[in-house]
Structures are given as C-alpha cells and as structure tokens.
Symmetry: C2
Subunit: 241 residues, 2 copies
C-alpha cells in the first residue's frame, strides 16, 4: 500500500459566504477514492463562523479570567460562548470542552490568519460540514482538521474535528496478532492520523488549507456513520477531567 499526499495549490483567501467547494474544486484531480483533509479555518470562514471582537461585550467571568490570565476579555468571552466547561485555566491557558465535546485550548477559537474578522470559531456541525464538502466535491471522504496541543507533549498536532466517508476509528481488537493472541486495546484513530499526515505537506502560513490523500480506500465507508464525534471520549470514561 502506498500513501500519496499533495496540497491543493492556489486556494485563495476564503471569506464569509464563499462557496468553499467551488474554490477547492479543479486545483487537483479529485476522485471517489480520494480523501481531502481541510483545515477548519476555511470551513469556518465560509460558513460565517467568525466574530468581530469589536462587537463582543465581555461579562464578569470573562473580565475576571482575562485579568487573571493576561488575555483580551473580549477574546475570553468568545471562548466562553463556545464552551460548555472550562476544564483547566492555568498560566494563561484556557482548556475548554466545546459544545461538540472536544477538549482543546481556547475552545478552538483562533485569532491568527483571520483577515477582517478577529476570531474564527470551530464549525458548528463539523461532521455535517465534512459531508457537504464530500458530496459537493465527489471525493470519497473529507476530514476537517484543527491544530491541538496535548498534555505531556510539546508541540501541536493536527487532529480531526469533522469527518465524512472515512472510518474515524478502526477497531482491531477482534483481530488476532501473529501469535494468535488478541491485540490489546488497539483502536486506531484513523481520522486523527490522516489529519496529522496532511499537516506535513502544507505550510501554516502559505495558504494551503486542503490536502488530497490517496491510498486510503481501505478506510472509506459508505453513508453517514462515524464522523469525528466518534473520536470524543465520553467524559465518564476519562481519567483527566
């Protein structure tokens, strides 16, 4: 099996209301066995999931957190608006659980590369966004990605926050290893690994938000099952609340 990844060239700056699929189409050949990994920022922008900080009225909690952590209170208010839980607030970092169930810094609210808008939010329904892009582009699967930090590890890796057409996780626990012993705890987060792989072929600041991945036909699935929601560990199963 060979995996081949190419960034789509020449994608322009995306603005609210843009037809993202139309702006991604035609830049590389795309077919029904291809997977397209798309940075969430262009999806969010096209869907109008942006806010201007000038329009944000921070509340008391945002003011208090901002003062404590050296942040812009309007930015903190936007983060709180996107969160259902503040998992940790420490040393300038706000680790939040978003309404999707994702646990990530700043609830995924991003202030870089945002053009006119000051803050880019995560898509509201990223699995649905992925499905719509997949259908519009005629590819086998779409993975929508974001860059996250990790506990205990330096650096960020790209992860899947939306997914359609690709098995988000593959459970190998029913397979036996080569000695006939069951593989212990071998559920692979395929969609996260695709997101990470795609990140290697594009420059963060170079305007290459989409990457075509060839060679993953084994992991394509029909219909709407799965989605990156399957990557969210239920809080009651988590050791690090």
């Amino acid at each position: 099996m060979t995996l081949v990844l190419d960034a789509l060239p020449g994608v322009p700056e995306i603005r609210p209301g843009d037809d993202l699929a139309a702006l991604l189409a035609g830049r590389l050949e795309l077919g029904p066995s291809d997977v397209l990994a798309v940075a969430h920022k262009v999806v969010s922008k096209a869907e109008g999931r942006v806010r201007s900080l000038a329009d944000v009225e921070p509340g008391d909690r945002a003011h208090a957190l901002a003062a404590e952590h050296g942040k812009d209170p309007r930015h903190v208010q936007v983060i709180l608006d996107e969160s259902v839980e503040l998992v940790r607030a420490d040393r300038g970092r706000l680790i939040c659980r978003t309404r999707h169930g994702f646990v990530c810094a700043n609830a995924g609210v991003d202030r870089s590369n945002t053009g006119e808008a000051d803050a880019v939010l995560l898509p509201e329904h990223p699995d649905a966004s992925a499905a719509a892009l997949r259908d519009a582009l005629g590819v086998g699967a779409v993975v929508i990605t974001d860059s996250w930090g990790r506990p205990w590890r330096q650096g960020q890796v790209e992860v899947a926050i939306g997914c359609a057409g690709l098995a988000p996780v593959v459970d190998l626990r029913s397979a036996a290893d080569r000695d006939g012993r069951a593989l212990a705890a071998t559920v692979i987060a395929i969609a996260d690994e695709v997101a990470a792989a795609a990140d290697l072929v594009r420059g963060k600041a170079s305007g290459e938000p989409a990457v075509r991945v060839r060679g993953l036909a084994n992991y394509l699935i029909e219909g709407t099952s799965g989605g990156a929601a399957a990557l969210v560990r239920p809080p009651e199963d988590d050791l690090f609340r």
Copy 2:
C-alpha cells in the same frame, strides 16, 4: 510538495540480538533524503528489551495494583520497573511516566505480538537507537514510534518516542501569518505527525514495522540535535499531572 509513504515489505519476525538494520535494508530503495518510521517493538526486540513474565517476582505494590485493576501482578511489576511515576491508576488503566519522561499507558510495556518473550519494553535510549539505525541504513532520518491513547479522545495514534535526523518540533512562532500578525502558539510536533502518517500504511498484525516516507527533506537536520526527548513537555509546564 508531495509526501509518499510505503511500508517495507517482507520484514521477518525480529528476535533479541538480531541486526535490525541488516533485516530492514534492501527491501525498498533508501536514500539520504528519506525518513524511515520504525515501530518500536522491533527495535526493542533486537535490543533485547524484553522480559519473560515467568522470571518476574511481583512486589507488594504490584500485587495490590494488580488486584485492584484486574491485571497480572507480574505485568504490573514490569510496568512499575519502567516507571518513575504512576500518574493515574483508574479502572484497569495504569498511566505512567517512564524514565524517558513519556506519559503513556503501562509505561509502554506491550504484551501483544511478543513471540517467546511475554513483555516488550520501550528501548532504553530511543533517540540513540534512532541515530544508530539512521547511520546504519544511510537514510536522512529515523523516527521510532509507539501507539498511545490520549485523554479526551477515543482511539490510539502513533507517536514518536525516538528521533534522529528530523526536526522533532518546528517552531513557527517567529513567522508572521499572512496578515502580518504573529502566529500564536504554533509549534508543530513534526515527528509525531510523521509517526501518525506512517501508521496509515501498515497493518498492525501484518508484520510491516517500517515505513519509508519521502518528501520531508525540508524537515531534515544535521547532527544529533533534537531527538524525541524534545517532545516531552516539562512536568512543571503541564496542566494535567
């Protein structure tokens, strides 16, 4: 930029004392701009980092933890021997800090696919193991990998536990984004993304422990700087002890 990944075919079962580089060589063309991702298990086996549970005498703490978490006390003793700290013990899961500083389940001690030995440990000095393999194979870089679970996320992803010749992290904070605003918190864990990408092209039970990655020349570095040790977040900087 194009990234191309291929698994090395036909690698035999590795046994303690084997010359791993000799057994990996010649299966695919390998050159000085190639990166080779190698599952740690074959490195550990070749280095004799295996233990037979029949020879393990569990101590009191191992017996207590094993009883509480439904584990084999000899397995728990091996895990404790590899750990400097038990970060969490909950619901059958032992999350440990290894002597390398890695925080992972069971201190990386693996019981699947182990052949005659019952337990495979992590390499003692995985960055040195990576450097030795790189030199022996004449590739640009070697990344040694393991499969880890994550807090808050379902499924495991492959991460880098050893690295030579590749920038383990790339700091983009000095770059400006396209609006001229500094990119916030953009340190990319390149070696972890390479590990994840490589995992997509090999079957866990199919005996494909090594993957050639082409297209990463931008991230190759000379000398011995870096290493996966750079991926360990200092405990004092961590929000989730």
